[in-house]
């Protein structure tokens, strides 16, 4: 299958929504991949960070909204600290999660309500806070 690119497909309303909610210009990314190279949780992701941005540059919002990546990002900000173009990937993830939740598109990969007491007691505090924050749209 060839991906058909056109003015309408690459600049669709969802993409503009991502830019609005995140405050990030997707076209700033020139795909150097430094975000993915330094990400501490990249091994758990199904799409690596620069791939998420690349798909968004092509208007492929559905692939991105379905991905585990946006829930796995721990918002540690390592990527934005290192990004040569000042793109905040975690903000893009915030925006994408918000869109998933508002559109009720899918069950989030992490459900804080179902975490066991043992899990909550053992998990680092920041991890629990982060999980909750994700559900509360950042």
């Amino acid at each position: 299958m060839r991906l058909r690119l056109s003015t309408d497909s690459i600049r669709n309303a969802s993409i503009e929504r991502v830019e609005d909610l995140s405050g990030q210009a997707l076209s700033s990314c020139y795909q150097c991949g430094r975000c993915s190279a330094g990400c501490p949780v990249v091994d758990e992701m199904d799409l690596i960070p620069n791939e998420v941005i690349r798909l968004l540059q092509f208007g492929q919002i559905k692939k991105v909204l379905r991905s585990k990546t946006i829930w796995i990002c721990a918002s540690c900000m390592q990527c934005s600290a290192r990004c040569p173009k000042g793109v905040e990937f975690s903000s893009i993830c915030d925006a994408l999660r918000a869109m998933v939740l508002r559109m009720r598109l899918a069950t989030p990969a992490v459900d804080a309500g179902n975490l066991s007491r043992v899990m909550v007691s053992k998990a680092p505090q920041m991890g629990v806070v982060s999980a909750l924050r994700k559900l509360l749209n950042g």
């Binding site: 299958m1 060839r2 991906l3 058909r4 690119l5 056109s6 003015t7 690459i10 600049r11 210009a25 076209s27 700033s28 020139y30 795909q31 620069n50 791939e51 690349r54 798909l55 540059q57 092509f58």
Partner: protein
Amino acid sequence: MEHRIGVFVCHCGTNIAGVVDVKRVAEELAKYPGVAYSTDYLYMCSDPGQNLVKDAIKEHGLTGVVVSACSPTLHEATFRRAGAAADLNQYRVEMANIREHCSWVHRGDKEMATEKAIKIIKTMIEKVKQNEALEPISVPMTHRAMVVGAGIAGIQAALDIANAGHDVVLVEKEPSVGGHMAQLSETFPTLDCSQCILTPKMVEVSQHPRIKLLTYCEIDDVSGYVGNFKVRIKKKAAYVNRDVCNGCGLCIEKCPAKTASEFDEGLSERKAIYTPFAQAVPNQPVLDRDHCIYFESGKCGVCQKVCPVDAIDYEQKDEFLDEEVGAIIVATGFDLYPIVNIGEYGGGDIKDVVTSLQFERLLSASGPTGGVVRRPSDGEIPKEVVFLTCVGSRDPEGHMPYCSKVCCMYLTKHAMLYKHNEHDGQAYVFYMDVRTPGKDYEEFYQRAAEEDDVLYIRGKVSKLFEEDGKVMVWGVDTLTGQKVEIAADMVVLGLAMVPSATATELAKMLKIQMNQWGFYSEAHPKLRPVESLAPGFYLAGAAQGPKDIPEVVAQASAAASKVCALFAEKEYHREPIVAWIDEDECAGCRICISVCPYDAIEFDDEKEVARVQEAICEGCGARIAACPSATAQQRNLTDDQLYMMVSAALED
């Protein structure tokens, strides 16, 4: 004469001393017959090293010097000057190359390397023993330059030389100066209008009192040598008397015959009698007889009837002019790689697939669409435009292997200018790498992506084809591994830059070197970038290799300054290491005349002997090897010297 040779063995840091036992070499050679002084030193080329040579010449009354160090291409001049400073004739100073020819290639075997170094030095001692004291040959010089090609490179070079006070003959084969730069819309990265910055220079060359401008002219023949070239120029018949024509343009207006405009890259029509563009310099038309009704059928003659000054002359013939110059700058420019060779992109048959120069004309305010981008097939304004880089470039299997250097930048400019034209449109650039090596270039590229939403897609397009009035683009995004397709309204090809069609023929006539793709070769890729290996010829512009306008201008000024440096002397001084002939012995067989590649040998019909013209001889040695009676010899490389050198090398 008693020989008192000095031997100076250089360590070159560890370059030589790390492999060759330099102390032992110096000691061994001190014992060699004819050597009066032998020593070693850390860096012979340093000031103290040179002083060592100078002092030893005086102190020991040396009659010759062998500096045993690096290649003579590097420091021969240094040590010749040192010798001369100590009143030793500079041609009695020789270099023995024990670095490139010894230490660098024998790192594994120090003993053998040391033995070899000793032999190399012995051969040079034998040579220098018989070296004559020579003086450089002085040749009279014409202080007048010729520049071939009047694009931006030739224009800049001509202006710089003329402004330095020398006369210049500027030759252009087209009816107007300006070259490709005159066709361009706006220039990266500042987006200033190309014609606006070029036309003042075009006017200046036409009005400069020291520049003789010869448009619609071609080089027919070149003879002579540096300082003394004779150039025959063909002034092509324009069928317009250029002394009379006042450029009123009435003939052009009334001419009924039309053909495709070269200046607009076939996107508009011109008349059979024409000036290429409105700001053409000179503003005098030429008549293209291949498309003229009068020349075809003998009828018409409208231009002659309407001309108010009787300038039209159907009987005009090609004329030949002879010019004498001392130096020649070649600035013959580039062409685009032929689109017809790119079958997978339609080979020129898809109307809405255009070349980069065609797109320049579509963007240009003076172009066929008045600066509004309209696609050629139906004149509609395109909404989706795809730009392809590396079309014919970086393709060693199919087309040209080299990077054409400017395509990334001009396609980025195209995409940006298109977006400035058409805010709702979308521009895509397919690239393999985006190369932006220039001041403010990377910023320009990022601006295109960020502010003008140009979508850069990494991958080479596999094919283009027509479907439902669109040009289908099949490519891939190698960053995500997805195959992509775009139904484009228009596609622009960043075709490879190749040397101008006339470059090869000219190179053969001038006897200057080219690389395998037909770009003129510089004498040294780093240190002599604007000189040809053939003395007296200089290079400027894209004829030497793909480059952008700032680089062309810098190179043209560099070539001009080389010419001015040559002209700074009253006479031209050259190496005296040339052939000579013993007239008493010469049998007059003329074999040497047939082998000399420089036409440097004349035949004296009265005495029936061959004679070397020292001003032309390059000292290549061909005629010496060819002479059946061994009467031809090379100065300071005589048969006797070579015999002694070989004997020294073979001695145990």
